[in-house]
Symmetry: C2
Subunit: 331 residues, 2 copies
Amino acid sequence: MKNNQTIIFKNKPKIISSYSIAGPKESYSVFAPFFDLVLKNDLWDCDSYEMAERKMLEHVIFNAIERAKRNPSDIDALLCGDLLNQIISSSFAARKFDVTYIGLFGACSTMAESLAVGACLVDGGYFQTVACATASHFSSVERQFRMPLELGTQRPPTAQWTVTGGGCSIVGKDGDGPKITTATFGKVVDYDITDANNMGAAMAPSAMTTLIQHFKNTKTKPEDYDLIVTGDLGKLGAEILIDLMEHKGYKLGQNYMDCGHCIYTNKQHTFMGGSGCGCSALMLNSYIIKKMKQKIYNKILFVATGALLSTTSSFQGESIPCIAHAIVLEN
Amino acid sequence: MKNNQTIIFKNKPKIISSYSIAGPKESYSVFAPFFDLVLKNDLWDCDSYEMAERKMLEHVIFNAIERAKRNPSDIDALLCGDLLNQIISSSFAARKFDVTYIGLFGACSTMAESLAVGACLVDGGYFQTVACATASHFSSVERQFRMPLELGTQRPPTAQWTVTGGGCSIVGKDGDGPKITTATFGKVVDYDITDANNMGAAMAPSAMTTLIQHFKNTKTKPEDYDLIVTGDLGKLGAEILIDLMEHKGYKLGQNYMDCGHCIYTNKQHTFMGGSGCGCSALMLNSYIIKKMKQKIYNKILFVATGALLSTTSSFQGESIPCIAHAIVLEN
């Protein structure tokens, strides 16, 4: 097939376990009862926020492996990425585990990217069991991408709040859990948005492109899914996506939700909602997977979007290239 | 298999074309006659070194695709990574091509990581043709990881010189070229080296770990390969690797070379030699592949190492975790 983006898995790798972690601000989320661990202090006894982010990532990986009744030595590969420069949270977390490591970067699309690549490696028989994980931390990301927190810089109304949280899914050939039946990898899409405080507007077109490609390739419609969930478009980005899709003849209805839009409450003053690779990782590995296990949802389309900018590219006047990767989970 | 690191490919994906680019300093290399394009000016008519790095990456991808007698629309996926924060060279290069993009980060191991993952995706039938690429630029890397060039900071004797260069391999199911027969993915190894100006010492143990695992899993010995080539250990790192391997009962002989060690001449004052993800990408996609096509080499083991640090991790007193991924190419 020419320019193939969608993969239908023959052997249907399963998410045999998952584990999630959230920060103190996220403990006020309506989804908090589904989170596996909620931190009371976002430094978590570490010397820096970067070290806390890494500890979160180590914690979700370790506990997801344990919940799958495996030892770290049973895991064939760890597929992991994060937002920090040179994905140090992932690489330093991988150091803790005596396991093959495949470092990925897809910004906030990392959870979907790692699951899509991981599912290929398991489906193809190259690995039996892989761990797919990511995490983000408000304070480490804020000081790297924007301003030191101590400055108390004002946030524009289109801003989102980086989620302190993370999640890990163990994908295996054997075991029970939601099956990964399809993956649609994304292309880089750039609609010339240059405002790094308006990620929703930058990322929405990439979600649209991947969704439409996915619907076409799989001959499905939005109504065929119990839930279509995007990663961290936020309130504005989700509204833009709904508009863009309607323009292309696809109606995203009651079965559509965005993790960033709904993770915080209105009272939390996060403006457009949550963002960061931890946002969708947290929601997928808590609420979504748990609701699938309860058969509330039986077929979901998970589309995580990523803004592939850096501070250097923004300083040099570049627009924000974005990507979205999608996977389908079925009971 | 428990904790599987080595994959033997059933369908033997082939490197159906490759293309390399080098900077002005690299034009004095004894290997320069093998490079496809040598730049006279390392800004290459761009406004910044970051933009020049990206242009190099776009150029190698475009020309490798053309050399494979394909159009960009025939490429199913681009697997790409680089050293800049948030791998912007790769993501912005991917924007130029209307193609599925899988962002990777393995620091200087990226060429081997992208080929290993790409070979899995082609071997498993998920994609027919993928492009695997990386590039680095001395001036963009130096100012990001070390000091602004304008400062003229002195370099310690263990330092290496980031190669301005890059390469792209097109991996396909159909076509002619060296076959990728085996891949051994690496684990993160950390021998507690904290000196970011001594990458060779930090990375050598990861090369050893992957090499030994590879030899054990494939029941081969160093003598079974026409060439064993490491990425950018440099003079000191290569000597450390030879020592470490000898200690473990493996003798790396005349068939061993390190790209970083041999890319520059002694007169170029690069101290320990070349480094950067462009170093091994340039050498693989020029000299090595061309010598394989001439049947001078028929079986090579390519091991690229990466130092997974960031400036933040170094400032916070962390040691340098490293990784090495290996692939075997056979005629």
